[in-house]
Symmetry: C2
DNA sequence: ATTTGCCTACCTACTAAAAGGTAGGTACAT
DNA sequence: ATGTACCTACCTTTTAGTAGGTAGGCAAAT
């Protein structure tokens, strides 16, 4: 991994651990054993670093979507949920859930990119649900996008809420979502 | 309203607008037309101010719960949801949803208080659901607490996600929750 | 009745640390 | 000899927080 990639990965981790406004270039440079100015060499501003984190997420998301393309709807849904599994293990929240509360402190570029991510996730889950219903493996009321909104909000907030309640609540939420859809 | 109460109300608004780590004592003192040091007179540290915000939320929550006590389950659920309505109108997120992503930057006192709030909300919604099911007005699979987890996560994240998608999505989510329970 | 003293609710003026960011230099690889 | 990937050494602003002062209200002591 290049230094640049390591910086972005570390920033991503810090943002999802404690929020965009609670980490500094010093946190990154110290952790990496380089100097403050060297981080600025790759990312002149904090905004540019944050944007890189989001763009990376976008790439990873597209990769996951196209990798899952051939799977059955239920498998695809479980793959979607597994994104949050990995976050939960490290007690991180998701990127959208970390940045949305601080949205009003972020510049336009970042807001646009974040909106794209949110829209893409919703689109993907909507697609999975539609296909699942057509195939008869999923049952749910309302249209697929409304159902996707419910599921995405469940997943997003589960990482946040279960920081405060019990960790087991995370898997309770996951199992309930699947059960609701398949029974 | 006393100066002290105005400070707490303003801090609450700022936290839910842009996050705990993106507002300063200067934001408060300027808005109120007093000096930085005067805010410190009431709240020696930022943590103590944040704690006061959470305690205020706890009081408001208990007030709402006891005020709603005699209402029917469906009305009580709608009263619970109306908390988020008021936030959505001002494009604010909820306190738990604002602080949870930044939890690792907060001290123990605050974490404990926030856990209490989260637990109390869950308890209340669980109660409403149980009673609604017993009375035959609500239908849902799984136990009441699991269902409460789903609904609370829906509401918490709806404020965050709909900052990024469309505002109408917020009422779509609300209506879907009610419809799922009552059909 | 007036003085004395204390409390509340601010103020001025400051500090130390941390923040994001910059200018310009260097060492090595191509 | 040019670019890449760092570095040293700054700067400015903002941050949370503090020390100590003051003006007015109240209340007991003289």
């Amino acid at each position: 991994m290049t230094t640049r990639d390591r910086i972005v990965a570390l920033a991503d981790d810090l943002i999802r651990d404690r929020g965009i406004n609670a980490f500094s270039f010093a946190d990154i440079s110290e952790e990496m054993g380089i100097k403050n100015a060297s981080v600025h060499y790759y990312f002149p501003t904090k905004s540019s670093l944050c944007l890189a984190v989001i763009k990376r997420q976008q790439v990873a998301l597209e990769e996951m979507i196209s990798l899952a393309k051939k799977s059955a709807p239920l498998d695809r849904l479980e793959q979607y949920m597994s994104i949050y599994d990995r976050s939960k293990e490290a007690d991180r929240v998701c990127l959208v859930g970390s940045l949305a509360p601080d949205l009003h402190t972020l510049n336009e570029d970042i807001r646009v990119a974040l909106k794209e991510v949110a829209a893409r996730i919703l689109e993907w889950v909507t697609e999975i649900l539609e296909e699942g219903r057509d195939e008869g493996v999923f049952r749910f009321g309302g249209n697929a996008r409304s159902r996707a909104l419910l599921i995405v909000t469940n997943m997003l907030a589960s990482l946040q809420l279960t920081r405060l309640t019990k960790s087991e609540d995370f898997s309770i939420i996951k199992k309930s979502i699947i059960k609701d859809l398949t029974s």
